[in-house]
Symmetry: C2
Subunit: 346 residues, 2 copies
Amino acid sequence: MSTATALAGRPDANLGVLRARALLPPVLRSWIERLGGELSQICGYQLGMYDVDGRPTGTVSGKLLRPAFALLCSAATGGRSEDVVPAAAAIELLHNASLIHDDIMDGDRERRHRPTVWARYGVASAILAGDALIALGFEVLASHRHPATAHSTAVLARTLRLLARGQESDLRFETESTVDPDECLAMMAGKTGVLLGCACRLGAAYSPGPPDLAERFERFGVHLGVAFQLVDDILGIWGDPAVTGKPVGADLRARKKSAPVVAALAAGTPASARLADRYACPGELTDAEVARLTEWVEEAGGRAWTLAEADRQVSAAWDLLEGLDLDDQARSSLATLTTQLMTRDH
Amino acid sequence: MSTATALAGRPDANLGVLRARALLPPVLRSWIERLGGELSQICGYQLGMYDVDGRPTGTVSGKLLRPAFALLCSAATGGRSEDVVPAAAAIELLHNASLIHDDIMDGDRERRHRPTVWARYGVASAILAGDALIALGFEVLASHRHPATAHSTAVLARTLRLLARGQESDLRFETESTVDPDECLAMMAGKTGVLLGCACRLGAAYSPGPPDLAERFERFGVHLGVAFQLVDDILGIWGDPAVTGKPVGADLRARKKSAPVVAALAAGTPASARLADRYACPGELTDAEVARLTEWVEEAGGRAWTLAEADRQVSAAWDLLEGLDLDDQARSSLATLTTQLMTRDH
């Protein structure tokens, strides 16, 4: 299947997202409440169940993107939604745990237009809240009586291990002057890829198909996860501040080694050298300097490389599903969701 | 069985400890190595596989107390050691993860006469190392193909949730002027009890006995865990610095709300009031003041309450095993290990 075909789909509200938003919040809420005490409050804040003053919002925020993919991969392979909800909830809980811990490590004070958990409740509570969400993730998955559960728990644990490895590479890259683009892609596969891969794999794991089908869906999800991260990195430099809610060139101001920068630095052009020199100098960047850095990244081919790589990852993902006998409606919804995420502006 | 009988036992090297030291290190090492990169180094440092300069020690340090209990509870109920090694390793990995994260939260810079992980490698790496060890714990357990594995994973996850809750209570107590002794015991059950309870439960879970036998061993382990923590709290005030490696009255200097202090504060005696006043005043304590605080805790009955409660917990533990048809040698080794831990000086 070509990328163009893969990206075709209806632009209306996505089946997977709708199902995730209908099925996940009650499950997530009941597990969060099981924590009890202050931890319930803090973890609930991260999931958008409580506002910054601790008042219930009556909902759960976040895109529930990973649960949506899990539900669609389940539907595509003939699984039943109710079988896959615990796995989808587990992945969403682990995703939020990693956000809480990553925000501490990265020193990020804001997420989704609100203070991050450590900025609001302190580092100690944030470490504990992340641990509690990891515990809940494994508990909701392991408590589900189903033949696929034992192996799924091992897959979830391996995913958490690879996430830690990915975050380690990311932290290390920030202190290195140059990073190999392939290493950058491997880090992205670890940080963003494995969790979406896990969502797609566990989505298929509770279906009647053969075990290698689930593994194929995992690789599908890893490629898509990398593609989405590449788009994120594009938005981190060229995103419209009015839409993203972040300042112009936010990632350049923070001197992040995001994919376009890594590609630009590795390109060996005169613009690469200028970029490397300026990135190595400490001190806050002016708006004019950010604009100049943005031009250099583009001139050195960083943007073009990133867009081409995102396209390549999406193609590689869909190639894996080629020739499989999948439910048409679910396959189409997967394609729609992919398109929406690849063409998003925030 | 009376406490006196329960505490009887041979003082020679314990069967459980010997088995744990023979069986666990190769398993722990191979999983730690699977992490790869810097994380392998940092997690290996926590487990004593590497020294402070990163050189391999050729061993794994730590008492391996929880694995020893898991192996003894397995032997007591007719289980096979090899079936229970993954669960024992999982619990040891989770225990180390919680030590790493607790040390960050508590600001403790030294453990086992070495810098703690965050003091040696920084907070970001320490958060990540804890997460990686949690991941490994679930992975080693969930990868074990055995009918008991699915449920054991749920038990391990619940344990991690309760650990987070216990640590939350502990952090909260430090900011409260008085703490109810029952709340203190509940916190200890959460912080130290549940992990030993989990070790004993999973030890029995891979045995041929009925499921409620494993639950009984869990309650046995929770009581023992609380008893050991109470002894720890006694040593934190009255321990011999030459043996414990900590300054005289270490927990009083840090104004910890350990069990003897909580009991003394709640006793309503004149010494309780003096202790409360001094605990509320900021500033470093002189040696003379520490000596006076120590006397007040004793005068208010804090030491006597703690020792009596430890004895009560040990009795409650052994009452649970009364009348059970257990392997004699393993039961005797469990009793020996209990005695050694209750009468230890560090």
